[in-house]
Amino acid sequence: MTPEEQKIIQERQRSRALIMALVLFALVVLFFGITIAKMS
């Protein structure tokens, strides 16, 4: 693997990890909202 390839892979992994973190955070907020709505 060349250094350029390694850099591209790391960049893609970083952006995917960031998106996954945002999605998980949004799901936490969504599930909290659903729980409150179901309880009321």
Binding site: M1, R12, G33
Partner: protein, 311 residues
């Protein structure tokens, strides 16, 4: 999560190692443009349903419809990767372009399917979740795997898959289905053939190269033009049915009448045309574009009509 075929495009650098797909490719796998129509019709079904749903649960229902549609789109692309590679219109998708491997697309599609159905069930009700599951399974197994490669009637029967969202939106609120969402289901069902066949007329060679038996490929253009007019007439009856059955009021009735009349005129022009050069098929392209606008207009009118008469 890797691909080593990345490199069918001019821009992509030749790589000796498998590259992980970008997150944008996962978004592209869900066919976002198709999703907008699905979300809109599902939202309209939800908004006109009688009863109340908490906004966060309504939002979740629409999110689940979107995720379910995205999952079905991903599984469709997973199954059709080889065929997509032979069509100009679809060759740039993540799988045929080699930016993603098939296993990732399969896992993404299956995971998203289960997640959307389960979330729908827990957030709203299991009846709506069942219809969502049926719509995903219908699109993948009945349309994509069974009908599409075998018969020219593929999009006639398969059109049902895209007609489910108003039923799901309605069911998310009420827990059942009634005459109005069923009428909207029938409208999308009969709208699908003229919509897709208008497209198939001017991308006929693409479908022929991919071996997909679309109507213009197996029956010819004249038959397709006649069939577009035939299904447009049934669609017109389906569009007027809600007002004739007094399920909607005059706001919808007037909008549906005018919008459908324009659709019918365009379909008539297509039926009269004998153009064989795809580049010169102006009426066909116009009908295809208008058919998308038509569905937005009709469903928007259902919601406005509901608000006017509920006020």
């Amino acid at each position: 999560m890797a691909t080593n075929a990345s490199l069918l495009t001019d821009e992509a650098p030749v790589s000796s190692v498998p590259m992980p797909a970008e997150w944008r490719d996962f978004v592209a796998l869900t066919k976002p443009r198709v999703m907008t129509l699905v979300v809109f019709t599902g939202l309209c079904g939800l908004l006109v349903a009688p009863g109340h749903i908490a906004p966060i649960l309504g939002f979740t229902a629409i999110l689940c419809i979107a995720l379910g549609a995205g999952a079905a789109g991903a599984l469709n692309q997973w199954y059709e990767a080889d065929r997509d590679a032979r069509m100009k219109r679809t060759a740039a998708r993540p799988l045929p372009a080699g930016r993603m491997d098939r296993e990732s697309a399969l896992h993404f599609g299956v995971g998203l399917s289960f997640f959307s159905v389960l979330l729908m069930g827990f957030a709203t009700n299991w009846f709506a979740a069942c219809i969502l599951a049926v719509s995903i399974l219908f699109y993948v197994f009945v349309y994509t795997i069974w009908l599409k490669p075998r018969t020219a009637q593929n999009i006639v029967i398969g059109g049902a898959a895209g007609a489910f969202p108003p039923l799901i939106g309605w069911a998310a609120v009420t827990g059942d289905v009634a005459a109005l969402p069923f009428a909207l289901f029938m409208l999308i069902f009969f709208w699908t053939p003229p919509h897709f066949w208008a497209l198939a007329l001017f991308v006929r060679m693409d479908y022929a190269n991919a071996g997909i038996p679309m109507l213009p490929v197996v029956a010819g253009e004249r038959v397709t033009r006649r069939q577009i007019l035939f299904y447009t007439s049934i669609m017109a009856a389906a569009a007027m049915a809600p007002v004739l059955l007094e399920l909607t009021g005059l706001v919808y009735g007037l909008t549906a009448f005018i919008a459908t009349a324009i659709f019918a005129v365009m379909a008539f022009q297509v039926s009269l045309s004998r153009e064989t050069d795809p580049a010169k098929m102006i009426p066909e392209r116009r009908l295809f574009k208008y058919s998308v606008l038509y569905l937005f207009l009709i469903f928007g009118a259902v919601v406005v009509d509901h608000w006017v008469y509920a006020a």
